[in-house]
């Protein structure tokens, strides 16, 4: 049987495996933990598709235009068009797989989300990602039983086999036994966002280390738009991480305010009368960063029916972790790192710059430009997985299972290193950044004792350095990247993709024009 190896068993990985199975191509699904533990299960608010079920005259063209506008001109217009065109059928497919999307009177309903005027987000209360994952995990199991999908949970990517710009396979290590397995043939990376660079500062999971992207980078893969970190406006610190307060809470009527002179100031509604609290995330976070004092999210106006019917998990979570009932008192919120728009640069077919290496989901740079719209991450992972699988399918190789190649002991980890690196990067890459701050962070990276560190740790430093250099090179403000020393958007010079690459041991940063095909709606 022809096979493809997929690194990562979250939504993008499962989606790729299912697409390959549809084409009768086998896949080896490698992941650090089972799919139930993937970050995709944390997605709360929903998935966007112009199904036009709410009588608002929604259309694919509007979904496409909103996504491109939200991405501030940096997303690939042709890729976004394909994504948004596919969305309605994908959501219908999910429903056929039993995803319990919210219905009223037997009909699917959609909710408001940021950066979009139409109700376009299909949802399963406030646990949409979990519901979608459960359905896809069950569907994948069907193909596991047929032998089309083989799972390798508790396995970590140890090395990519790359020669002369071509990927020939992946070496993985069983973290339970140290046994090493070599999977030859094309590789799909679906390894999630780069949370490992910012321990404790993201809403994502600790297991999305960014190590797969760092490995691809070390082998010469181009990375795109690394400076575009999405700070979600409404998060709260809890032990070990940031807790997300879903955008759905504002979609259902939540209002942000600060106290000024003893009175509430609903700043988003004042500054942006049209979309108010539902402006895109980059805009809300930037406004919050410029304010003095605690920002609060007032959800006390939401009805009991909305809490029980649409946001029950969110209420329970806030009660449990923050010790307050959001139906009765405002929630203190602050922006936290939520999503990496940047990552392994792929074309519209999800091919990386290394032949035979594909990437999908949050580890890839595609669809979201300089800022991702809420409800587009599940969609991007689902569709990206399919697109990557379709590209990889033609490269699938005839083989049996993996080849055992002895044992690989775990690499030693330097105590305190992730926090040290994270502190440096977080210091340089805040919501508001500037040249001196970024340069200081680069100097701090230079001062790290690289010689004493493990290989994976050195690769993480290189990834962090590429991120800082990308932010330093983009001397403008756009989307999630706000330079206080270059506050204006400069389309002439910078309506381009930031490309970071390792060439002869040096990190190079260049700017590449956005692919043609967008027309006027691209900006």
């Amino acid at each position: 049987m022809k096979r493809v190896v997929i690194i990562g068993a979250g939504l993008a990985g499962l989606s790729a495996a299912l697409e390959l199975a549809k084409q009768n191509i086998g896949s080896d699904l490698v992941s650090l933990q089972p799919s139930e533990r993937a970050q995709s299960v944390l997605a709360e608010g929903g998935i966007n598709a112009a199904l036009d079920l709410m009588g608002e005259g929604d259309s694919v063209a509007e979904h496409c235009a909103d996504t491109l506008r939200g991405g501030c001109g940096l997303a690939d217009p042709a890729a976004v068009r394909s994504l948004t065109e596919a969305a309605p059928a994908l959501v219908r497919r999910l429903r056929a797989l039993g995803v319990p999307f919210q219905t009223e009177g037997g009909r699917l309903v959609q909710r408001n989300f940021g950066g979009q005027k139409k109700k376009r987000t299909a949802y399963a209360k406030s646990s949409t990602g979990k519901a979608v994952m459960t359905a896809l995990i069950d569907e994948t199991r069907k193909f596991e039983a047929e032998g089309l999908v083989c799972r390798y949970p508790h396995h970590a990517l140890a090395e990519l086999s790359v020669e002369a710009g071509r990927c020939a396979g992946a070496l993985v290590r069983d973290t339970y036994t140290d046994e090493a397995l070599l999977f030859s043939g094309p590789v799909v990376l679906a390894s999630g966002g780069l949370n490992g660079l910012f321990p404790g500062q993201t809403t994502g999971t600790a297991q999305n280390t960014g190590d797969a992207a760092a490995l691809a980078f070390a082998h010469g893969a181009e990375l795109g738009n690394l400076e575009m970190l999405q700070y979600h406006p409404t998060t709260a610190a809890i032990p070990g991480k940031r807790l997300l307060v879903s955008e759905a809470a504002r979609g259902e009527g939540g209002r942000l305010f600060v106290m000024k002179g003893g009175e509430r100031r609903y700043f988003m509604e004042e500054i942006y009368p049209e979309l108010g609290n539902l402006m895109p995330r980059d805009v809300v976070s930037r406004e919050m960063a410029r304010l003095d004092g605690q920002v609060w999210l007032d959800l006390t106006g939401l009805s009991g029916a909305v809490w029980a019917g649409r946001l029950p998990d969110l209420r329970e979570e806030l009660r449990h972790y923050l010790g307050l009932d959001p139906a009765k008192e405002p929630v203190p919120v602050s922006p936290g790192i939520h999503f990496f728009m940047g990552g392994i640069l792929v074309d519209a077919s999800h091919r990386t710059s290394i032949e035979n290496l594909f990437a999908a989901g949050e580890c890839a740079c595609q669809y979201h430009g300089a800022n991702r719209l809420g409800g587009n991450s599940l969609l991007g992972a689902l569709y990206g997985g399919i697109a990557a699988a379709q590209s990889a399918a033609s490269r699938a190789v005839e083989r049996k299972g993996p080849e055992p190649v002895g044992r690989i002991p775990p690499e030693p980890e330097t105590p305190g290193f992730p926090e040290l690196l994270g502190g440096i990067l977080y210091g340089g890459l805040g919501i508001l950044r500037d040249g001196p701050g970024l340069s200081a962070a680069l100097d701090a990276l230079d001062a790290l004792p690289a010689d004493t560190l493990a290989d994976a740790e050195r690769r993480r430093i290189a990834l962090g350095r590429a991120m800082l250099l990308s932010a330093l090179a983009r001397r403008e403000s756009r989307g999630a990247h706000t330079r206080s020393d270059f506050p204006r958007r400069d389309d002439g010079q910078y309506r381009k993709t930031t490309v970071a690459a390792l060439r002869n041991g040096e990190i190079t940063i260049s700017f590449r024009p956005i692919p043609e095909g967008g027309g006027a709606d691209a900006t």
């Binding site: 533990r37 944390l42 039993g98 399963a124 569907e139 199991r141 039983a145 999971t205 297991q207 070990g240």
Partner: protein, 228 residues
Amino acid sequence: MRLEILRRKSREEAPYIECHDYTPAEKSETVATALTRLNAALPDPIRWECSCLQKKCGACAMVVNGSPVLACDARLSDYKNKIRIEPLRKFLVVADLISDRSVLYENLRQLRCWLPAEAEMREGAVEIGYEASRCLQCGCCLEVCPNFDPGGVFAGMAGAVPLSRLLAELPEAERGELSALYRRHVYAGCGKSLACRNVCPAGIDVDGLLVNSNAAAVWKRLLRRKKH
């Protein structure tokens, strides 16, 4: 406070207890926080599995003072001065606090836990499907179940909950095989102790799901038979 951790270098080596005097930095600290902070200073870090840290993924299930919990859900302030931390006991221990829970997935494959036909999302099915979708496959329910043994016929609540989604969402004509599997691997083995209900970290309404599945897979069939 005193943390007693049941450690084990590997499956082959003997377990031993390691004690730490631990001072939480904040009131909100959990067992997960304590393990992270302890590990930052240990030359030989304690192995445990962790992912979301907000009780949505089930990775960090372990036994604390005799009860299965998620480490990210177990607040230190809820315990007295001594906390004993052990791996889940119904599964093979890999090392320290990591148990190999692959039996969960083997059971689901044996139960043919997938939709053999398209779902029919009636209003009731949406509610049941949602509730069942919340299962973390953490294994806490199996830890306390008096009827579950790994390798046995009874799949426990970790098998029953995913099946309840399928039974609720499938058109009646398509339920036959799954109903039979449900009767054999769930209904026949469940002693209704409902110990699982009290430990489920997701707070899943297991009684409600069982009632629905029993109606779909057991009672409807019996009633039909009576009519004939």
